[in-house]
């Protein structure tokens, strides 16, 4: 995967209450894989980039096990929507809404992410 030169200097930013928090260079995210980021208040976010370049952010904690591992799951497309499957027990979470696709009572927090 070669990145277009103009995107290389871009930063991945995350929306917190009323500010944008710069996390890392866009190049640090491999398409189709996640990365964990630490927020100033100690929360953890799982960041993803899909093959079209779209960015997503959800809470990194896997609500089923408590481990902070969602960033290490495999991503995919289910009925046109992006998801990540927990690497521990494989439940899938919608990357846009945080909704668990395998248990409707469970949802994780989502974050607004952009490259700029």
């Amino acid at each position: 995967m070669t990145l277009a030169p103009e995107t290389t200097a871009l930063k991945v930013r995350l929306r917190l209450a009323d500010s944008w928090f710069a996390v890392c260079d866009l190049t640090a995210l491999t398409p189709g894989r996640g990365m964990a980021a630490l927020l100033p208040d100690g929360r953890q976010v799982a960041l993803f980039r899909d093959r079209s370049g779209a960015l997503y952010g959800i809470d990194n904690r896997d609500p089923f096990s408590g481990a902070a591992v969602l960033s290490r799951g495999l991503t995919g497309t289910h009925r046109g929507r992006p998801f990540v499957a927990s690497p521990l027990l494989k439940q899938r979470f919608d990357l846009l809404t945080g909704q668990c696709l395998d248990d409707e009572t469970v949802r994780v927090a989502t974050y607004e992410v952009q490259a700029g």
Binding site: A36, L38, S65, G66, T77, L96, E112
Partner: protein, 878 residues
């Protein structure tokens, strides 16, 4: 102790079955199918210490099938139908006046209908010392147990008297027990009943090549015994003496008709209870005889199971008709004779004969193809008008299912095209679609093509197992399963049933089909594969968690051949790997990782042990000896992995692939070098194999073990491929499994040299990798693929598909391209980038990963995990 059951006051009429063998059990099923177990009391007297079992598969007892595996009697069946089964209690007398049967225990049972299914006994020629210690027959599980024990304790050589079907099977079993084996046959050729002279010659050659000594045209005159009365040899009719410690008589069988004789029923001149077309004994309409004890209406005693099954159905139908008060017997099933078609796998050689195999019909012609060098012999018997009458196939019986089904009709192509090898004008693939509806596809259960089609169209079966259950086809000898599955697929497709064999929501192809695409088109990119070969709706998307690792694994196992990068985390491949492969370590419940360095064959130097100890101590890891003969270190944070591995690689360790769907361990026992029983160097072989196949990506994990002798301390028979040393080399077992559904491995080949062993494993593994489904261990794969073990053996031993060279070269490419993943990773700063807990705080450890002490080591601090695990009510969805 004698019990006397009341004879009078019966509310329901009683059917008594004497003999619970294969045919007896089939008879009970036929009664149940007809509702007779509900209207009648059914009593079974069974002589053997266990209910009916699969005698046809008896020999597989030596390759690990247990008595339970062989059982034909579902425990629920007897209870469900209220059948009274007396095990280990044979019938001793029948009083036809009083209509009672008395069993050995003293039990007396009154009957309205009596069915004799007492089978046969092995004929032992009346030679001197035939009963000496060391002489056996081959008929029951008890016989096998006795042979096995004697062979282990005091025999190195064994001889089988009789070179027929059973004799060859017995000789093969003796060889499998590690004995030098001889076969002595009175006739001038082997298997005189089934094959003709040409077939016998082809068979002889192959069997001698396997190391069995064959003596044809000589009779056994005397068993020679030593001072202790045990066998030491046998005198043959040509004056020679053959030294042997064990003798198995397999000189044919005789009907067990004593019970019938004693109660005055008619028996044939050469034995067998005489019955009519309904299997009713002549002279007593209340008594029936079925199976090998019966002399059928056509004047023959059948020694095969299929005719016995037909007799069982016939007798049950007649009993049902009597019970319903039918007077007219016309239209009821009848048994007037049966086809003697057989297909056998003897010592790995296919032998089949069907129809009029010896060409006894007037005016018939033979079409023969023979290649003695390759051990091939094929003969078709054809009538003047082109009707296929029968045939014999030795060495390659691939066409048996189709040819048998065409017997009695004129096949749509010239007969020579059916027997010639490819390249010489044949073979023509005669699809089962060419068969007429009346063609019998499964001869064990007499199931026609029409019935199989009906199972799909009328009974809505959509899979082969469903059709098997519904029609019984394919549940006997199994030789028809291939044709059966072709028919089922064809029928489903003809009915427009969409058989979605797709791997997942992204691909309509199965794993096997994707493998073929990747190999043939040299696809090295998952995205290309998805965009060009994926389901319409999945193209352009991100795939899913099922197909990504599957395709990642296919690309990795073919990497050197298709020109992909061998390193699994290279470029786009990185995104395909499961988290364990992504971090080259195993994820644990709290988000930490475990580390398993390779310890080939379980052999390790003190220096290396010390390094492991030091690394574990320095990083505070929990250590445990695994079930795979190596050491696991737990509790590493993701950012510690490269540091730990830098030390391990430096000390000469490499990745143990505990994380991958790939070769795990090849366990060993200490073997010949130290153990007083060992016959080969099992440790060296285990190390060689582990180093050869390390890093090989496969549909599921692969495990292996090598034992130095038959005591099997390495548990090789529970492995995907297991090796047991023999005094002549190695026996290779495949398809074993521990885990949740344990499976004993099957013997694939025996007495292999080092080179033969490695070559066979190369082929086996590559064939498995090519054709298995995702997450299908070799055990389930072997049970699923049409033709099972026999098919796999055909492919990897006899090269029936002509792909062995390709399989070997694929493996050779893997072996030469292997590099240690961890050494590559720690030497590449870019790859090391991912080993951080946080992309924006590389040096901060994940606060959720913490440990508490236990038994002088650490364990995960679980309360840390429960803090805040409930999902937060999220910030605004986008």
């Amino acid at each position: 102790m004698s019990t006397t059951a009341s004879v009078g006051g019966r509310s329901r009429p009683t059917i008594v079955l004497v003999g619970h063998g294969m045919v007896g059990q089939r008879f009970l099923e036929a009664l149940a199918d007809r509702g007779l177990t509900a209207t009648h009391r059914v009593v079974v007297l069974c002589e053997e210490p266990r209910p009916a079992y699969d005698r046809v598969a008896l020999t597989s007892y030596f390759s690990g099938r247990t008595a339970e595996d062989l059982s034909l009697t579902d425990p629920g069946f007897i209870d469900e139908h209220g059948i009274e089964l007396y095990v280990g209690d044979p019938a001793e007398t029948v009083d036809r006046e009083a209509r009672t049967v008395t069993a050995r225990s003293g039990l007396v049972v009154g009957y309205d209908v009596l069915v004799l299914a007492t089978g046969s006994y092995p004929f032992v020629p009346p030679v001197p010392h035939k009963d000496a210690e060391g002489c056996f027959v081959y008929r029951t599980i008890e016989d096998l147990l006795a042979i096995e024990e004697y062979a282990r304790k005091r025999a190195t050589t064994g001889a089988v008297v009789g070179g027929g079907l059973l004799g060859l099977e017995a000789a093969g079993a003796l060889k499998g027990l590690g004995l030098t084996s001889h076969i002595v046959e009175f006739a001038p050729r082997l298997m005189p009943v089934q094959v003709d002279e040409g077939g016998g010659a082809a068979l002889l050659r192959t069997i001698e090549d396997m190391g069995l000594s064959v003596h044809t045209g000589v009779g056994t005159q005397e068993i020679v015994v030593g001072e202790d009365g045990a066998v030491t040899g046998m005198k043959l009719s040509d004056g020679s003496e053959l030294a042997t410690d064990l003798v198995v008589f397999s000189a044919g069988v005789r009907p067990r008709d004593q019970l019938a004789r004693d109660c005055g029923l008619t028996v044939g001149e050469r034995g067998g209870v005489t019955v009519d077309e309904r299997c009713r004994t002549v002279g007593d309409p209340r008594v029936f005889a079925i199976g090998e004890c019966a002399l059928a209406a056509d004047g023959r005693v059948y020694g095969l199971v299929a005719p016995g099954y037909e007799q069982a159905e016939t007798a049950a139908a007649a009993i049902a008709a009597d019970a319903a008060g039918a007077v007219d017997e016309a239209g009821q099933p009848s048994f007037t004779g049966a086809d003697l078609s057989t297909k056998l796998k003897l010592l790995g050689v296919d032998v089949a004969s069907f129809g009029d195999a010896h060409g006894t019909a007037a005016d018939c012609l033979d079409v023969v193809y023979s290649d003695a060098r390759a051990g091939l012999y094929k003969k078709l018997v054809v009538g003047r008008d082109g009707t296929l009458l029968g045939g014999i196939l030795v060495g390659d019986a691939e066409a048996y299912g189709t040819l048998r089904a065409f017997t009695g009709s004129v096949p749509p192509v010239a007969p020579e095209q059916l027997v010639l090898p490819a390249g010489a004008g044949g073979p023509v693939q005669l699809g089962p679609s060419a068969l007429p509806d009346e063609a019998v596809v499964c001869s064990c259960h007499n199931v026609t093509k029409g019935t199989i089609r009906g199972a799909v169209t009328e009974h809505s079966c959509t899979t082969v197992p469903e059709v098997k259950k519904c029609t019984k086809a394919g549940t006997g000898c199994g030789s028809c399963v291939k044709v059966l599955s072709q028919l089922v697929t064809a029928e489903l497709e003809a009915n427009g049933v969409e058989v979605d064999k797709g791997l997942c929501g992204c691909f309509t192809q199965s794993r096997e089909e994707l493998y073929e695409i990747v190999l043939a088109l040299r696809v090295t990119s998952y995205r290309d594969l998805l965009d060009r070969h994926g389901r319409e709706e999945a193209r352009g998307g991100d795939g899913c968690e099922i197909c990504k690792p599957t395709v990642g694994s296919i690309i990795a196992s073919l990497a050197p051949t298709i020109g992909a990068h061998g390193y699994v985390l290279d470029g786009e491949q990185a995104a395909l790997q499961d988290t364990n492969d992504h971090f080259l370590a195993n994820l644990q419940k709290n988000g930490s990782y475990s580390i398993v360095p390779r310890i080939p064959g379980g052999e390790i130097t003190p220096e290396k042990l010390i390094v492991i100890g030091e690394v574990a101590r320095d990083f505070g890891l929990y250590t445990k000896i695994t079930g795979g003969q190596r050491i696991d270190m737990f509790g590493a944070r993701v950012e510690q992995l490269p540091l730990i591995w830098a030390r391990l690689v430096d000390a000469g360790f490499e990745s143990g692939h505990a994380y991958g769907k790939s070769l795990r361990t090849v366990k060993s026992c200490v073997g010949q070098t130290w153990c007083r029983y060992g016959v080969q160097d099992s440790v060296r072989m285990a190390i060689d194999l582990e180093l050869r196949y390390r890093g090989l990506r496969s549909p599921h994990k692969l495990k292996s073990a090598v034992s130095g002798c038959a005591r099997e301390c390495a548990e090789a028979q529970s492995k995907d491929f297991g090796i047991i040393a023999t005094s002549n080399g190695w026996n290779l077992y495949v398809g074993g499994n521990g885990g949740a559904t344990p499976r004993h491995a099957d013997l694939l080949a025996q007495d292999l040299s080092d080179a033969e062993l490695v070559r066979l494993i190369d082929r086996f593994l590559m064939f498995y990798i090519r054709t298995a489904d995702r997450l299908e261990r070799t055990s389930t794969w072997l049970e699923r693929i049409p033709g099972g073990l026999d098919h796999v053996r055909d492919v990897v031993v006899a090269d029936s598909l002509g792909i062995c060279e390709e399989l070997e070269s694929l493996m050779a490419a893997h072996v030469s391209a292997y590099r240690d993943e961890w050494a590559e990773t720690i030497n590449d700063p870019e790859k090391l980038g991912r080993f951080v807990s946080f992309v924006n705080a590389p040096d901060t450890p994940d606060p959720v990963v913490g440990f508490v002490p236990e038994r002088d080591q650490i364990k995960p601090d679980l309360p840390l995990l429960t803090i805040g695990t409930r999902p937060l009510e999220g910030s605004a969805p986008r």
